[in-house]
């Protein structure tokens, strides 16, 4: 399971498309427990990512880096620095290894450092950690991703805007977990994992 420039570009193209398709759904989820802009923010960010990747980065490291910079500068909401940091950590590590499991492990660690969220806080971390673990055991499936995303529904938010709602956040999916689910669905569907 190695990340290459080719499969990475295919992965991001598919992810950008998914985000564009699900923009309204993501914002709708966010309006229930947040500020209602996750879909629009992510769509704006991924559009910038697509534009940056269209300039044909020379190698995987630069592709990951321009992805990170586009997300950090264009998303606007909390998802920008979070996703941005995740891709930046992958970019940094990619000069040493392109092993997918190791890259995602580094990304998840960066995500936790930036946002300070733990498992069970009802954030995107609740998708990234199980994905990381399942990748390690080569057991990542679409069902497992879905399971992780759905697990956020019954959680009470401890981080992010939704945490202001306390127990009223229970019963709603976390929008960042849902968009992270799309990211990893795209990873499976575009053959990054064979």
């Amino acid at each position: 399971m190695e990340l290459t420039l080719e499969n990475y570009l295919a992965w991001m193209q598919d992810f950008a498309q998914k985000i564009a398709d699900k923009k309204d759904y993501l914002s709708d989820l966010d309006s229930k427990i947040g500020d209602g802009d996750h879909g629009n923010n992510m769509a704006r960010g991924l559009k910038a990512v697509s534009e940056a990747l269209a300039t044909k980065p020379a190698d995987l490291t630069s592709a990951l880096k321009v992805t990170a910079m586009a997300l950090i500068s264009k998303v606007g909401g909390a998802a920008g620095p979070l996703y941005g940091t995740a891709f930046l950590e992958m970019a940094k590590l990619s000069s040493k290894t392109v092993d997918l499991s190791e890259l995602i492990t580094a990304a998840a660690a960066g995500l936790q450092k930036r946002g300070g969220a733990q498992a069970g806080d009802k954030t995107m971390v609740d998708v990234w950690l199980p994905v990381r673990d399942n990748l390690k055991n080569s057991q990542l499936t679409s069902e497992k991703i879905e399971q992780a995303v759905n697990s956020t529904k019954q959680m009470e938010a401890k981080k992010g805007r939704a945490s202001y709602l306390g127990e009223r956040s229970v019963g709603h999916l976390d929008p960042g977990a849902v968009s992270s689910g799309y990211l990893f669905e795209s990873m499976l569907q575009t053959g990054v994992i064979k």
Binding site: I72, G76, G77, P81, R114
Partner: protein, 125 residues
């Protein structure tokens, strides 16, 4: 003066308004602000924060923000600059006002931070 103040808000108008209030009690303190996204929408922009840090005349900044994602962008900006950034998880308006008036009065950083302590209201989300 070696200390300056940095304000980061999700809203351009808040970022423009808070320094107005502060400057009233701190005419000699360099106060710069970043508010909203690059498109002037609600959110924060790393680029704007970088610019506000660069534009500040001080090389050590006391930074105040409104909501969580502003903190994350502030942290990233702090990692990118050579200036020293002190980040406070305190009530934006009240604490930046306290800091501004004390800086103007020439109070030492440690004493200012002690005054800021009871105003800490966030950081965990």
């Amino acid at each position: 003066m070696s200390y300056g103040i940095l304000i980061v808000s999700h809203v351009p108008e808040i970022a423009a308004g808070v320094p107005k209030l502060l400057q009233q009690v701190a005419t000699d303190v360099s106060i710069t602000a970043a508010g909203g996204t690059d498109e002037q929408e609600i959110g924060t922009s790393l680029e704007k924060i970088n610019q506000a840090i660069a534009a500040n005349q001080a090389d050590e900044l006391l930074a105040f923000y409104d909501l969580g994602s502003a903190r994350m962008n502030l942290e990233m900006a702090a990692e990118m600059t050579t200036k020293k950034i002190h980040l406070y998880d305190t009530a934006l308006v009240e604490s930046s006002y306290v800091a501004a008036s004390l800086l103007q009065a020439g109070v030492a950083l440690a004493a200012i931070e002690k005054q800021l302590e009871p105003l800490k209201i966030k950081g965990n989300n």
